[in-house]
Point group: D2
Chain length 262, copies 4
């Protein structure tokens, strides 16, 4: 049994993480840290059956002998938590985003010197990570490739970060794409927004959450790789995968890809 503590346990993602850890047969939730909810019982945050009091700081992780700490908080808190984990020998699984390259460099060094390891990933949605990887692997065998991403109609930026990253990886994997045949774009924008030459189309649709389809074509056939996610629980399988593997991956691991062995 791996002993797991959760930073930011009272946040929206933190509570989801607590539930996922509690429900996993090979993990045990031993600490919930959250300065904003310190002292209350975890059940008051809607997480039943854990019998834990929320702690105010990371010392609790040492007191209860946590093997791994999970951090989905905010940038300032996460920076401190990651440093604390390296210094105190607790493995870290981190989904908080926004670290600078300098900070990631610092973390790489400190975990190289620590008895603990870390997995820091901008995207724990395992299906999305696989979709990107498969799109990249397939790209060299196709002549055309485009991306269609669908999100709820409260998303203010387009395309999504995942779509941009997918396009970049497809472009890096193959430079040999058929030219765009379009000579007349009757409705400007119809052919999408190009990211390194790969057309990306963003749909904003009520009733949807986060979805993306990569379509690749070559003579007589197409291959479509589609990821649909419906809520925050989509992050959990990737988080648990990282918790199970972090102990065996020396130093700092960036992104889920290395954990998938692809």
């Amino acid at each position: 049994m791996t002993r797991v503590g959760v930073f930011g346990a009272g946040g929206r993602m933190g509570r989801e993480v607590c539930r996922a850890v509690k429900d996993a047969a090979d993990l045990v939730l031993v600490a919930a840290v959250d300065p904003f909810h310190a002292g209350i019982d975890l059940s008051q945050l809607g997480i039943e059956g854990a019998d834990l009091t929320v702690a105010s700081g990371p010392q609790e992780l040492l007191d209860v002998g946590a093997d791994v700490a999970i951090d989905f908080t905010v940038l300032d808190a996460a920076r401190d938590n990651v440093r604390w984990c390296a210094a105190n020998g607790v493995h870290a699984v981190v989904g908080t985003t926004g670290f600078s390259d300098d900070e990631l460099g610092e973390f790489a060094k400190s975990f190289a010197d620590s008895s603990a390891n870390a997995v820091i990933a901008p995207n724990f949605t395992i299906g999305a990570v696989l979709m990107m990887r498969f799109a990249e692997l397939a790209a060299p065998y196709f002549d055309t490739g485009e991306i269609i991403e669908y999100h709820h109609d409260r998303k203010i930026d387009a395309p999504s970060g995942t779509a941009v990253m997918t396009a970049q990886r497809m472009a890096a994997a193959s430079s040999d794409w058929a030219p765009d045949p379009t000579e007349k774009e009757v409705a400007p924008g119809a052919r999408g927004g190009a990211v390194q030459g790969i057309p990306v189309h963003s749909i904003r649709m009520r009733g949807m959450f986060a979805h993306q389809e990569v379509v690749l074509g070559v003579a007589g056939q197409t291959l479509s790789i589609r990821h649909d996610s419906f809520d925050r629980s989509a992050y959990m399988p990737g988080v648990l995968l990282a918790v199970r593997q972090v102990g065996d991956r020396a130093g700092l691991t960036l992104g889920l890809d290395p954990l998938l062995g692809l």
Copy 2:
């Protein structure tokens, strides 16, 4: 048994039409007209089992007592053929495109005065006609609607005519759409080309022919209506439907919609 003649029988669409008529149990192919192939046997055009010699002009239709003539030719020829049908009392089913509003007005008058009727339609793909109609019928019950069309990578215009017409009909059917949430379009064009406010996205893909999906969303759900066509044979069910109904629809009928009773 309805007796059918085909104008432009040696053309690509004409040959397809000859085959479809020949294969229909309730129709008999009685005349193949094509000045460019006059005098040869129809089997030399790859249409087996008809035992017909290609005729040079429309007189053949009268000689063999054709009930209906089908025209998929070019604009100049089609104009003459339609006039001839009205004047000579032969029902006309016409898929040639490009008639002016004035010409369509003239045809409406001449078929009103004729013993024959006509169906003239820009699109005989029955599934596409149904898709457009359903999108229009559904539009008032949804808050967001977008169109994604996919064509082979030799198509030089975007969006397709069908996509533009679908958007126009959806916009006419409902003016109550949620506002576009996009504030930042990182890759310009990602949100598609707007046709009367409906975003249209055009994919150009090797290995595809002609496909379109209309996606509509409202709280908690989406409805998607998709048409896929793979080759020219997709026109045939609509052509046969028109041949079967043209005798019962007085005067000129424009488009397949009235024949579908929706």
Copy 3:
């Protein structure tokens, strides 16, 4: 402004309904009835901003002058509520399922004699209702048709009720389907379960909620009509539609179809 009361306001669907009514600009939530939660403030049920105390019985609807009552409860309670609405002149919108044909006959009579009307529907998911209607309308123009339904992996029956009803309506709309070509079913069941001759395929998938696709084919083309729903909120657009129309539809209306005008 239409004044709306909700039976079973403390139930899972009841609370969803309360929220949807409260958020609709042309409706006002005037009464929440629920004997199991009588006397508490609606905000304690997680519905903010309504300033209502939960009432123990239907008399409240008369006291506050409700125009329409919505019932998503259980069969025994719903039976009483519907009778009460007919007797007391309050329009009823009812999503509770399981009424016998005899009971529906009784309701038809009592609402014919009442100043109030009723809409009783087994399925308020507007997109699913449209999907079924479109499948039925399209059926006569296609040679093959099959249904694929996808649900979460806690659903214990297959196919879903919606899939069975869709197949029945397609079969009633057309008896002219191409024969099944299958001579050898290597894995028994691969060709699905037939409902009145229409093959139905049921997928049970973690990460999904409730989805159905109807695929229809004829020469050279297919038409696919797909409904995806992600949670209970999918019922709300149909409920609100019924609330807005019930006053204008004399007597008892069964199902959403008549309200859609298709």
Copy 4:
């Protein structure tokens, strides 16, 4: 420039192969072998621009110095052709199916001793091969997985061989699947046909050719991998890939997977 000869050049696949080789910039079609069409010009088989006379036997390949021979013929002919290639030092790319394990063992030995190599594959549709591989790679990360395959309505067996093989590979890649929740199958067969525990659903649809979708689900998300093929030209990218690589892959290579480097 690689010099390519084609066995069975007058067959349906043979002609397609001749065209694909002729159109590839880095390949040159130097020989067309077909005893049934020996002596006629290749243009009479509908392959323009090659200026070749069809040869009656394999000696032609040596006379013109072919590097690679492609075989899409029938089992008896293919057996002889493969042996001839090994004996005469001409690389072989073979899509003919039906070899016994003994024969494949014999070929492995003879190509190990030959200066020539061979690629023998039951499926040259590159997109289908990638789909199967991705399904296998993804399987361990998901709790549920099902296969839906769509074919034209002249296919007499179900499921397709590709679907069966995909299921076998998914089952071999993961033994940890959630149990089927179905307790009541109202329409027997609705839950599909199980292949090593993976449900497979076969749709037979007019207007389709050959399509397959693998759907995988885990908490909050699904991953779908879909291959659509529209005609025989779908084999060509895989054939050309094999022609380009066969010279560098010592001995006998079975299947396209090793060529894709995945």
